[in-house]
Symmetry: C2
Subunit: 328 residues, 2 copies
DNA sequence: CTGTTAGCGCCTTCAA
DNA sequence: TTGAAGGCGCTAACAG
């Protein structure tokens, strides 16, 4: 069933049908009514592909995140969706799974699907997908990263400052053993570590575990930590640069009888919702996640409606949130 | 940049270019190589809309869930994505926000975008969107619901049995005050309540709060409960038919000084990952969430490749999981 | 206000 | 193996 069919049935031309689809004012009300009737009768749905191909807006924006099962991204997406759908757009999410090729593929897909805008949380601060995005003229905005090249819209936490915030706190806690746990190599992590390193007085003796990416991996590393670093004997402070992982670590630590924050104190990063109501509420560096989604949505809408404006750049200040998992 | 452009540059016809795009064997290897080179040089990406319009598969499936910020759906989607992307498909998620009109709109969008398959977690067990789906010939599968009409593929927990499981446990706990908290009107909830009612000996005196849908609303209702039902004096058992909400309730209850499970015991439903590592690990009815996503993915793939087969119907048995929030 | 005519970018017979 | 031509369903001028 196409507009041709319903045009024939209404005894008019395809153009008129197309006009009522796009809600054009120049079509006689009664005719419009009749066409609407017929469309409803057949429960006709216009083909989005054809509409898109023929040049009209699809009223759709795409968002690519790095993983689904990380509450950080979900919260961002949720805040984003709230705004964007109020504005009459629909959003489609997909996940790159921290894989640059997959990311590129998804970006290509969105571009070639002619979405009206794209939000990308990139694996790297400089990549083929970002280059592609720059070359096509679809409005896009990067989140959770500061791009290498200039003139690209982004919104990111000031992770360098966040790392320093954490270091200050570690200096005050002043524990004999200090451990840093980081995840996938990513710009956000690099900055956090850099800020932390510069400000933390015991950096030289700090032990660093890398590539702990997921909640599950956090859960697993905890027992390794215990035996390898003798956690049950030495008072320790843990900086886990991602709440999701931190919560996994804490879970296991509790299960194997390590007290928190007494024996081991844990600081996270992100301040996902969960952090406030998990087993041991998490002391963490907050980056106002919901705001990121909301700001991203507003800026993207602005860019869609007003493509010539300068690309917005947001660097959001982090904030220390002290809860139970690490106290002074 | 279109296939016409690159055809011209290669000195061949569009047809040949199209053939290399679809990896057709009948194109001279060296020619193919040359075309590939040129495509790569211009980082050419074929237009998905046009491809779809012209009839080829998009290798995309859509999944519509009811809300983003509910871990249940995210876990399902994550399991689903894992399988589907291994099979070379990409997935796009969107959220109906418990709104039937929005759901219909999203379904129409997916249909008219010619996706290869659709997963829908419907707001209602009988709706315009389901009807639409039946009428078009795109493979689809419903999750988290048992459709009213027959011949529709679905995968759902046996919520009736789940409700009875909860009731058994409540009978054993035998508390003087019993409260039931449910969310949006939804078939899953109806069945859970029905099973619970039939088996619970104190159903008649059970107090029922409805329309508590989100984590936040659970958090808010908790203080109401305390004052209105005198929670701090009377030993109470709470059946919250959704873990997400239960966790919100527990959070607030703890904050206002109610001990769990001593004073108030709480039973949830779903067994989202979070339930095992939240403040007070949740006693709940488990429905093997990840499996739902995985089975859904496998069945959908099967339906895509083999459309004539009978529609699969999965009713997953629930399981009681006793943790700390409610003990006997 | 309404119909006609071209495309949008790609795939797919059908001939060559 | 390759090319030419038509069409997928819709929109967008351009005439009337």
């Amino acid at each position: 069933m196409t507009i041709a069919d319903i045009a024939k049935e209404a005894g008019v031309s395809k153009a008129s049908v197309s006009r009522v689809l796009s809600n054009s004012p120049k079509v006689r009300p009664e005719l419009k009514e009749k066409i609407l009737q017929i469309m409803k009768y057949h429960s006709f749905v216009p083909n989005k592909l054809a509409q898109g191909l023929a040049g009209s807006s699809r009223n759709t924006v795409g968002i690519i995140i790095e993983e689904l099962s990380n509450f950080f991204f979900i919260e961002v997406a949720d805040g984003f969706d709230r705004i964007i759908s109020q504005a009459g757009y629909s959003m489609q999410i997909s996940s790159s799974k921290w894989n640059e090729e997959k990311e590129l593929e998804l970006v290509q897909q969105l571009i070639s699907s002619r979405v009206d805008g794209i939000i990308l949380s990139p694996v790297s601060d400089e990549s083929e997908s970002i280059r592609l995005l720059k070359d096509c003229d679809i409005p896009f905005l990067l989140i959770n990263i500061i791009p290498k090249t200039k003139g690209i819209a982004y919104i990111s936490c000031d992770n360098y400052a966040g790392g320093k915030l954490a270091a200050d706190y570690f200096n005050k806690m002043n524990r004999p053993l200090n451990i840093l746990i980081t995840g996938f190599p990513h710009q956000t992590i690099d900055y956090r570590v850099q800020g932390f390193r510069e400000k933390f007085s015991k950096w030289d003796s700090t032990i660093h575990y890398k590539n702990i990416n997921t909640f599950e991996q956090g859960y697993e590393i905890a027992s390794v930590l215990k035996t390898r670093n003798n956690l049950s004997e030495i008072k320790t402070a843990l900086f886990v640069t991602n709440d999701n992982v931190a919560i996994g670590v804490i879970k296991k630590l509790l299960e194997i009888g390590i007290s928190i924050p007494g024996q081991v104190s844990v600081m996270g990063y992100d301040d996902i919702k969960l952090s406030s109501f998990c087993r041991i509420p998490l002391t963490t560096i907050s980056q106002n996640i919901k705001d990121i989604g909301i700001i991203a949505a507003m800026e993207l809408l602005e860019m869609i409606h007003n493509p010539e404006k300068a690309k917005p750049e947001h660097k959001i200040a982090p904030r220390l949130v002290v809860r139970e998992s690490a106290v002074i």
